[in-house]
Point group: T
Chain length 154, copies 12
């Protein structure tokens, strides 16, 4: 079976991880999380393309540009989670397995963070696990893709 080529998208402000509100988001930097993702991807016989932007338009451009050469998307949409219907449409149009992740438990914070406009288009969602949200989400994404390929998933 061919390797999985995965796109990992980090939404706005995630480039500030480690510097920013560590009580909420931990001390790991995005570079460190990206390093962990690449290591885990290798273990899963997958490749990851990593992309962060503070711009909704740039994230949509990336999804459109990459969608024909990747097998699935792992996204932490940051605050776009709560209102970016444009990003949602881009992800839906990609038509690929999609996993949404969050470092913190968005259901235990301000009320506005409890609503994800992305989630109805995702296969699954993981949150509240720190970097594990990403790493376990990556594993979940690979499994979704493998099941789809093997036709043995319902």
């Amino acid at each position: 079976m061919a390797a999985c080529n995965l796109l990992v998208l980090h939404g706005p402000n995630l480039n500030m991880l480690g510097q920013r509100e560590p009580a909420l988001y931990g001390h790991q930097t995005l570079a460190e999380i990206n390093q962990l993702l690449e290591t885990r991807a290798a273990e899963l016989e997958a490749t990851v393309e990593l992309f962060q932007s503070n711009s909704e338009g740039a994230l949509i451009d990336k999804v459109q540009e990459a969608c024909s050469r990747i097998d699935g998307i792992l996204i932490n949409p940051g605050a776009f989670t709560h209102y970016s219907y444009a990003l949602r449409d881009a992800l839906a149009a990609a038509g690929l397995p999609l996993i949404e992740v969050h470092l913190s438990n968005i259901f235990a914070r301000e009320p506005f963070r409890r609503r994800s406009v992305i989630a109805p288009e995702a296969s699954g969602l993981l949150c509240g696990l720190g970097a594990d949200s990403y790493l376990l989400g990556l594993e979940a994404l690979v499994n979704v893709i493998k099941k789809q390929r093997g036709k043995n998933y319902e």
Copy 2:
């Protein structure tokens, strides 16, 4: 470091898995998922105590009875997710690391399923990944416990 003793709780109707609406919940039975959980737990050097009930009271009794001898709880609350404040109170009172899981993506179904009264008390939530919600949730739970023990988690 001592092994983790974990409680895995399955809420109402999950004993019917495999028989029930496979388009939504897959063909795996609860026994098969429990088998997978035990195997994965062994790999993680953890033990799992497995419990299913259709009764809110029985689930609460179990949490209370077990809470002094376990290190964390993995729960799929089934439909209790949406209204059982009593179960929520029991889990909060236990004061243990808590991971909530769902087989299906509860954010892509009927509106009433989008609200979890349990989630604000959980460390994290995984949904939409089929049996992987349980297996990756188990791994996440062990990691939460380890970080807590190692004092190196914030």
Copy 3:
């Protein structure tokens, strides 16, 4: 055509019928209603299994236990009507013809009684007819089953 085997479920507090608030629910006891149901079932060439419980879990257990040997369910969910998503899930999983009944007209009482979380999974609903809600509901259930068997129902 084989006889219909029907399960009749009475939810919480219905065991107090006759004693309890007769202005609202009439003077008939549950035993009397059950007697009427058995008589009517016989006329319809059907058998009825009768079960009452104040416990949500016990009602769900009953649905699960019986669902493989019955042809349809007649339920008066009592107050569970308004919030028991767990009972709803059990009835949906049973995958059988389902009729919901209420002695009183739930749309002419307190606002909270106007919402049924069960009804979206039912074939039909009858309310406000006293014991007739049960008896006519039984007849309706038998007809639903017969049409289903005869393939001549759309």
Copy 4:
């Protein structure tokens, strides 16, 4: 005991039954349902006056014109169910036993169909049973009238 004289009202678009969206409403025409109602009425020693209109005003006129010579009303208000407070007032003013029926289960369709402005003025409601909603509703109506006459109904 004197025979019951009943008024059966069919609201807007019910004259198109059989032609219209049979997946939702079945293949029976209104004429066939009316025929079944007359037969059943005869069995119940009742007479039925049958009336259909697409006009709210005509239905109200009919209720007013008939109310002094009938003993009860069976109504399928069609879409007027959801907003015709004028029809509701007419039925309330008639001061007669009233049964509301629907062919389909209005609680399993679009949200706007779940609200009946008529139901708070009805004795009872039956829905989701196809033509049986009418036939069993007719039987229920006769029983309500009989109980009222016999003074043995509470």
Copy 5:
């Protein structure tokens, strides 16, 4: 100054006044109220054209037909008060002084009766005064017209 020609409109079910729910609406018939209106109009040097219908369309037709030969409208819209935006549009298009009246106090009854879709287009509203709602409303309407004519009204 020329006499005022007034249109008095009675909405659905008001033809049943006196027969219908006297505890709510009193024992006076519509004919008696109309008689009082004609007497009062004569005292106010006005003429009244009286019209009742259970049909929204007929009321709109009447407004359109009469609007070029009358000086003001007194309306008891009955239950159309709460939802007939079509009647509202007809009254707004007439561009005449408009007084809305109700026999009962619509703010002391069911919640749905508290909303008038007509009132934002009216000059004034009187309710809860029985036949006085009409009679004082008539006087108010004549005053509005006179002030408009005398240009001394702001």
Copy 6:
């Protein structure tokens, strides 16, 4: 029949009438309206006690102090209309016929003005008629009292 002794209450800011926003409330001063009320009261063989205050507490004190020597209350609650449950309770405790009036049509202005917390305790309401709201309201109040005395009011 004894004369009616009436209390007329003017709520906050009504002492500024004539000076204040004449486009909304007209050019008449409160003194002029009071004069008109006294004249009309004399015609109706009634006496009026007139009271204005910007203080909720003073209005309540007045209601309590006067309630044993008056026969009815005419009130323009001004902005207290929309939130003073304390004034509402005082008026309800007085147990007297009560008419609520407003100079402007409160249903054609800002949304917050459409809700009256006083109205559910009033016999009737008049609004949008300028000083006529008071004068016709006074007449209505006298009629309510007379009917009550004559026992011929239902």
Copy 7:
């Protein structure tokens, strides 16, 4: 390809066009708009049947009567747009291409005008274009019908 036979429905108060609130709806009369529609229809090799009524029931009767001999419907439902579920059901039952039009931009007016209960059953909607809403809507309707016939529309 056979000509298109179209039904154009004008809802309540549209017969007053030109006389009524020209600042909102323009100076053209309905007769002038109908003339423009007939001319445009001829250009499009279509025929139009034109019908206006202030009565919901009459509009529904027309839809039912015409639906077997026409190919599509163009409707300006007037105020029925906002609440006539009965008209919606009639249009849905007709099962024909349906275009909804409004002279004014209903999204730039009072909040209640922003909701169309008809639109979910329409192919498309045009508003705010004055008579062009009708004329361009007619063209759109013919195109929808042609595509449907040519099977080359998805």
Copy 8:
């Protein structure tokens, strides 16, 4: 006057008192509170039957079983306060004086805790007083019963 026989019901998780979140609920155990209740009952010449359960069904069974031999009920419904309409119905059916108590001030916590579905059926409610909620509630309950017996209560 005969002694009062009282039923004291403790809802879910109250058996964990003292162990559980003492910052919120204090350090007293349920056994200690029960001891205080028995002492206070003796002072008030009353007997108390004490019952705790985590099961909604068991609490309802207890109410039904005891209602014919007791004079009043003191209940801390725990989290069932917020959604158990079934428990509410059981308490209403018992038809006995009912006092609802809570250790903490439910109006100063999460929004969902501010709503009690039980309270509309209770005589009175005490909350926020720790064990005093129970002890003063017991005294209040005895007083309600005595007044009822003495017929001097309105």
Copy 9:
């Protein structure tokens, strides 16, 4: 331990107790309740300062004037319960133990009475117990103060 000096505040209309709606509030006058409060205070080795006003401002003035010489506040805010954020702020600023009481069960009356803007700032709340709400509330207040002094309360 020094005696407790307590302030008892009665909100608007409570001076009318006994005269006003006895079916709701009982026949006791405020003077009688005040007498009972003084007797009970003496038994509890406390003093009470009693104050009633219909004026929100006067109640706030009283709280501010007294707060430095009292140990706790017992308040029946009357209708101010539902909207007086100014009174709430005054009570919060006082920084003293606070008990809120109501004679009637505010949760079993009109919906607007179910919301207390004061309660989130109170230690506890008692309602529905008639004069006992005050007397038991006084006892509760003394206990809160004693525990605070003894440092043995959490």
Copy 10:
């Protein structure tokens, strides 16, 4: 009369037309639609400037840059329809005739798509007509501009 210079704006994801969800949006590519727009513009003696972006900021920049040299704007805001108040402000500031179009019927899809924050600033809206939404919208826009120029509008 001078030619019309028009700006046509395509919002996020519209560059993917034809590739993306053809069941919803058809098989035409944006290039094809742009070609059709240019052809139609030529027929209407107008020029079109065509611009697509996935970036809200870029769309706003374009509106600002072009607004002094164009005569009107045709926009399909894509998902920005539902939340981009910034784009709305830019379009309002441009002060030009504005037509909003959508390929699909936004009123027949998910609830969030039914709200347009752009529409209150538009002259008119067309939706559900596929490419015809653009082409007829272009024609409507030219007509709006011509009427404005000819002063013969309204």
Copy 11:
């Protein structure tokens, strides 16, 4: 240009500043703030009249009494911000430049504090700046008045 005569109004509980909840409102007393206001007014060649009251009625009386001799109003309405429509009406009737200030950021506190019923009648609002809210608000008020006088403000 003549000096500005300004009215500074302090609403309920602001007389307790410095004593009350300093974490929220700072340590400055109202006397100190008033001193700062007088100094700053002198610098701005303005005079300030200072008034505080806990009574809504007294604040309204003050506005009415002063409005003919002042040029503008600076108000911190305290908790009246959230519900005093009577104060709002008084300020609107004054017809003077109006600046609303708050010491704390009302948008970062309890939800009920986020709504100001005063703000829609104000020129501007400043909050969260401690005493600077007053001092900068004073400067803003003087500027508004000067611009108004100089006719060079739009």
Copy 12:
């Protein structure tokens, strides 16, 4: 004490100031306001870095890039005020004193403009003062920074 280095951010469409809707926003251009800000900053011994963008992403990039070399932020978020949670997160992550300003009074315009998602993260807010919102906001920001430095701020 070192000088303050301040970042002034202008959100979308503010570059059009002066050209755009002067009735709402005045005739000053952004360049003029920037000039005023620089002058005022110099008076306050502060420096200002000025940045405007129509792009949410560019504003976030700027906040991130500048946050380590500035002492505070003054922002007019334009329409991003109402929905840009991403900008909110960026400002919160910066962890600097923050003042939000608006030229117009956002509480006196369309309802959607009354909600600021930024304000809960700001120290204070000024609106409705035209350019003074910026200039006084700058002064407020410098004061906040100075107090923070002097440790004498609470």
